[in-house]
Symmetry: C2
Subunit: 233 residues, 2 copies
DNA sequence: TTAATTTTTTGACTGTGGTCACAGAATTAT
DNA sequence: ATAATTCTGTGACCACAGTCAAAAAATTAA
């Protein structure tokens, strides 16, 4: 269950966030004093699309996903975010409604900051605003790439881009290639790429038959021929 | 051809931009003094993906599109922007490279602001940073919806969402429904939705046969049954 | 105006990938 | 341990929409 938790150990929350780096200790203490603290179990919803949005969430521990649900009940994942990243209401001028769902994919500890507080922080320290803008710009860029991939590529290419992205985020170079500890189920892979779960299986097999990747169980994939994989995208 | 144009009449550029509203006249004059001024013909490129990015562009007159090109040469439109909107490098901390192309779709007059200048403006007037964040947040939201539409909907639903979006942006209510003066070719509609040009034609016809819309020539569409159209999405 | 070019529509064909159904693996509970 | 549940892989089927080709319509040039 969702519950308010005691202040994070060592008040880590704000410290580990990029947007609050390069800040004096006094100011940091100031910011931390404004934060709330919550923890959620795996698979718990943090908020739903349409909920009144007045909070910015900072991930202290764990992973969350932002996603939408179509009329037909299909889930489309927009982002998966981990420790140190933030999400929630970015419009600091006027609070509105969230336009996506947020759910814990592992147990998570979150620090919260109200819209209003965040706004005051930015007004006082505008360079924090620039940092936020930087992160949001990156997210924008990622979504733009996603739009292109979804609109113009076939199932195989979509899967290839996902594998490349995963290898960049969770890949470890070994003697036989880049080893990915896949941080999600086949279903999640489906919900990220818009490709049916069954097709994900089939295409993984095809890539394996071609010697481009090696699938070990369901949570490990080794990219053998990086070149070739890039050529799909 | 691209050319540097004389200062915009009345220095309109900065005035008509939402992010520079609620600002003193002195400051506005200050900002305007930093701007450069360019004009481009229809179909001219303003910048290409990969170009060094150090400029923020403000549209004074005309329309531009931001798009990507796939390996196979397909164009994917990300945004179409008009007068008063801005685009370009949003990361004010460190300039990088543009990750999309920008092209004039009508003759345009642009005001330009360097990264560095914009950064200083925001540091001096942090509420402008908040405004920028507001706009970028909206753009993020639009892309998120686009991702969902592209990943989970069939051709008909994608077209329906485009029509709804166009009706919101360019629709006029008349006695027979919402009249849209379509501001783009069928090909552009294809490049926005990722649906083949031919399929756009076919689906428009189908919607017309069902009495949901009326297609008048190639640049006018009347939405007759708004309800029904929404049900597709 | 007619001619030339571009844009849009229509037709026929085909392949990709979605869906459904079920079997096999893997994980979790008892 | 066995049972129960969840997750993943495979086969069969077929509809949607992409592609190619060509006609029709609209726009532009002469």
């Amino acid at each position: 269950m969702k519950k308010e938790c005691e202040r994070c150990t060592d008040n880590l929350c704000a410290k580990k966030v990029g947007i609050f780096s390069n800040i004096t200790n006094d100011e940091l203490v100031d910011i931390i004093s404004m934060t709330g603290h919550m923890e959620y179990d795996k698979d718990e919803n943090i908020f739903l699309e349409g909920d009144k949005s007045d909070t910015l969430y900072i991930i202290n521990e764990g992973k969350i996903k932002l996603f939408k649900i179509t009329k037909s009940g299909k889930e489309q994942i927009l982002h998966i975010l981990s420790e140190g990243e933030f999400f929630g209401e970015l419009n600091l001028i006027k609070a509105g409604k969230y336009h996506f769902h947020a759910r814990a994919v592992t147990p998570v500890r979150l620090c919260t900051l109200t819209n209003e507080d965040m706004k005051n922080i930015v007004l006082k320290r505008p360079e924090i605003g620039l940092k936020v803008l930087e992160v949001v710009g990156e997210r924008l860029s990622k979504l733009e790439t996603m739009v292109q991939t979804l609109a113009t590529n076939d199932a195989e290419a979509r899967l290839a881009s996902l594998l490349i992205q995963l290898s960049e985020e969770n890949g470890k170079r070994t003697s036989q290639g880049i080893e990915i500890r896949v941080p999600m189920s086949r279903e999640d892979m489906s919900n990220l790429t818009g490709v049916a779960r069954e097709t994900i299986s089939r295409k993984l097999k095809k890539l394996e038959d071609q010697g481009i990747i090696k699938v070990i169980g369901s949570r490990k994939i080794v990219i053998i021929d990086e070149e070739e994989l890039h050529d799909y995208v």
